[in-house]
């Protein structure tokens, strides 16, 4: 990585960290901002947080790996999150996940080799009345069949 890129990333982290009181209770909010901006938590950002906030990197990793919102790997250009709540399960979310794993040739939690799609099986998103629900790039789709799902992905891939 070029040094200028590293410097600009650290500056961005500096701005984020500077907004918060320097104690552990700010940690999750800081990680959430980094996750939101970059789509994942780069190691160098976590190292910066450790140095600046005087929290061990070990502890920060402990927090980053505990919560499902955080990813240590970059996500794909498009994210597909299939809700696995009870109502969605009863209405066939497992079929949708199986189909997506086959179509994209990846497991849940992974990204396609071309970096286009990431697939996640997520906890209940509270859209139980439109089960099975899938969130694609932040938009919720409900009562999906495999065919409708394919149509949406075809549209994105086109």
């Amino acid at each position: 990585m070029k040094s200028s890129t590293i410097v600009s990333q650290i500056n961005s982290i500096e701005n984020i960290v500077a907004k918060y009181p320097k104690n552990q209770s700010s940690l999750i909010a800081i990680l959430q901002e980094v996750q939101e901006q970059k789509g994942y938590l780069p190691r160098e950002d976590l190292e910066f947080i450790a140095r600046t906030m005087n929290i061990s990197l070990n502890k920060i990793y402990g927090v980053a790996t505990f919560y499902s919102q955080f990813s240590l790997k970059p996500k794909g250009k498009h994210t597909i999150s299939v809700c696995t709540g009870t109502a969605c399960h009863v209405k066939g979310s497992a079929n949708l996940i199986k189909h997506l794993r086959d179509r994209l040739n990846i497991k849940c939690g992974d990204t396609t080799n071309d970096g286009k799609f990431s697939l996640f099986d997520v906890r209940c998103i509270g859209a139980c009345s439109v089960a099975p629900a899938v969130v694609i790039d932040g938009r919720t789709y409900g009562k999906l069949t495999v065919e409708e799902l394919d149509k949406i992905l075809d549209g994105i891939q086109a």
Binding site: N23, Q24, S25, S26, L27, I28, A29, L31, Q32, G62, V63, F66, Y67, S68, Q69, F70, T84, G85, T86, A87, C88, H89, V90, K91, G92, N95, K98, H99, V122, R123, C124, I125, G126, A127, C128, S129, V130, A131, A133, R139, T140, Y141, G142, K143, T145, V146, E147
Partner: protein, 599 residues
């Protein structure tokens, strides 16, 4: 700045303001994520365009949902002194509806009910909407609307009492925590009030993690100021000056509405120093969860606010002694605080009329799964479960088998056990828990062992890992269920599951582990035969479906098959491609002439 003098107006004057504001011609629709997923966005846009084209004096407004998920796109048309509610309004219907409005007529197609006929509607007539009374009426982002609809009348009433009197009112109301455990709220608040520590905290638990439960989401999207007012009353009663709302990251609209409401409350002196000109000061921080079911547990939640891994703490000490940042803390569910507001706004005498001997008031319930009318409802404690599911929810067209109550901490209640009142203790007797109020209906095709395995895999994954019974025990339970559903079950497995489940419940550190075996134990209690059939080789996770000669070629199965595995011409016998079939049973369940065999 909002005109806070509304708070000091008489109820008659506030009623006049309500009539003036809401006597206008308005079309309202919900725009939550699930509403948009149902097509509301398109219908809303169609109304905007058609009203503009027709030059009609009608506002088209977004509102929070009415709880009628089964009827979306659901439209409320307020005109001529009444409100008319329409179901399944697709965008294609809009031009005709607007044309009728232009002629001064009320559209008739897809009319579900009217405001003055709510008591005739199957869905609404048995509901009692106390905390959800503002839904679909107010703009959730408007403090003006909230004040016109009795907003802050509750706090005003509370300020006229001493703090201990406020707590007595809650005792009189028989208010119990709505987060699941049903602990008496007055007792909890009294613990905190009597603690002399200068630093104390309040927390609102909005980390609604139970799959199948979204009543907190609905409440906060519809009426966020109700929570703030309730927390402010709590702060006055318990002597706390700082509060936290811990909201799930998976609810972005809730977070947006809360941020907005907190900002407006602060700008108008309803949070901060000297609220409503009194010596009472209180402010609230908003924290977002980061995706961990266990953080719905009160001590894990506190650890999360402190920036740590969300692992529960042993008790004692209890939060009221040593909670957030090791200071005395009271934590209540969002719905509980909202009930506090309602009790003080409407008066405890009105509130007390509803409920059972042990539990006053109402509960918000989510009806989902294979139910005819999925949605969010509010019912009085004491309503029979059968009424809730069959009268309000419309029952299950594909044949009711069981209702799962209480999420992953709860259990499955079969049809034979539905003649009980909705209350905390009665549900526990049936092997479930009230939990947050999610009711997921399952039909005759649902494999109950698979349901038990589903919940077990959930709690196995969500276990924080701290205590051995939960961390190791739930994994062992899941392994046994996996073997059983894969056809490798052994004699004695059911007894092992029962024994292990009871040990985990007795020895786990927190509520997650202490209730995680319940779905397994309750399905063994009521559906033991399904476990036995698996072990004896009489049942498989992958039944084979075959179309018989009874087929009338209606093509319904072909259309419904999620993987297009069924072919056939109209009025001719259809065929299932067994290589493509994923054994979901959708064709079997939906065949109008029962022409499909299941083996």
């Amino acid at each position: 700045m909002v005109d806070l003098s509304i708070i000091n107006l008489s109820s008659e004057k506030r009623e006049k303001l309500r009539q003036r504001k809401f006597g206008e011609n308005v079309i309202k629709m919900a725009m939550s994520a699930c509403a948009v997923a149902s097509g509301n966005g398109e219908t809303f846009k169609a109304f905007e365009e058609e009203i503009k084209k027709a030059g009609l004096n009608f506002k088209v407004e977004q509102t929070a949902c009415f709880g009628t998920c089964f009827a979306e796109p659901f439209v409320k048309i307020q005109t001529k002194g009444n409100s008319y509610y329409y179901y399944h309004v697709k965008k294609e219907m809009v031009p005709e509806m607007v044309a009728k409005l232009k002629r001064g007529e009320i559209p008739e197609k897809n009319l579900y009910t009217k405001e003055d006929e709510f008591d005739k509607s199957e869905y609404f007539k048995k509901q009692v909407r106390l905390v959800s009374k503002n839904c679909g009426i107010i703009d959730p982002e408007s403090l003006d609307d909230y004040l016109i609809y009795d907003g802050y009348q509750g706090l005003k009433k509370a300020y006229s009492l001493k703090p201990e009197e406020v707590i007595s009112v809650l005792r009189e109301a028989r208010l119990r925590g709505r987060g699941g455990a049903g602990f008496p709220t007055a007792t909890k608040w009294e613990f905190l009030r009597s603690n002399q520590s200068e630093e104390k905290y309040l927390i609102a638990n909005a980390d609604e993690g139970d799959p199948g439960a979204f009543m907190n989401r609905a409440l906060l999207e519809r009426d966020p100021f109700r929570l703030i007012e309730g927390m402010t009353i709590a702060s006055y009663a318990t002597g706390t000056s700082e509060g936290f709302i811990y909201a799930r990251a998976e609810y972005p609209l809730v977070i947006q509405r809360l941020k907005n409401a907190l900002k407006i409350a602060r700008e108008n002196g309803l949070l901060g120093k000297n609220i409503l000109g009194t010596s009472h000061s209180f402010d609230i921080h908003l924290c977002e969860g980061a995706g961990a079911f266990v953080c719905g547990e009160e001590t894990a939640l506190m650890n999360s606010i402190e920036g740590k891994r969300g692992m529960p703490r042993p008790r004692p000490p209890f939060p009221a002694q040593k909670g957030l940042f090791s200071k005395p803390t009271n934590i209540n569910n969002v719905e509980t605080y909202s009930h506090v507001t309602t009790i003080f706004q409407s008066g405890v005498e009105d509130y007390k009329k509803y409920g059972t001997e042990k539990t006053g008031g109402t509960k918000m319930i989510c009806l989902t799964g294979k139910i005819k009318r999925p949605g969010v409802v509010e019912v009085p404690f004491g309503i029979m479960l059968r009424e809730l599911i069959f009268d309000i929810g419309g029952g299950c067209d594909s044949g009711f088998k069981a209702v799962q109550v209480g999420g992953p901490s709860g259990g499955c209640i079969p049809e034979s056990e539905l003649d009980v009142e909705l209350d905390y203790e009665t549900i526990v007797e049936k092997g479930a828990i009230m939990g947050s109020g999610g009711f997921v209906v399952m039909d005759k095709e649902t494999d109950m062992v698979d349901v038990a395995k589903f919940f077990t895999s959930f709690t196995r994954d969500e276990s924080c890992g701290k205590c051995t019974p939960c961390r190791e025990g739930m994994y062992r339970m899941w392994e046994m269920l996996e073997r059983i559903t894969n056809g490798e079950g052994k004699k004695g497995d059911i007894e092992k599951l029962e024994k292990l489940g009871n040990v985990i419940m007795d020895t786990a550190l927190c509520g997650l582990g202490q209730t995680a075996p319940k779905p397994v134990l309750s399905t063994i209690r009521y559906f033991r035969k399904e476990y036995e059939d698996y072990i004896e080789g009489k049942k498989s996770s992958f039944p084979t479906y075959k179309i018989t000669d009874k087929c009338i070629g209606c093509t319904k199965c072909a259309k419904i098959c999620p993987v297009s595995a069924i072919t056939g011409k109209i009025k001719e016998k259809h065929e299932i491609n067994q290589n493509k079939c994923i054994h979901c049973g959708a064709c079997y369940t939906n065949c109008p002439v029962k022409a499909i065999e299941k083996k």
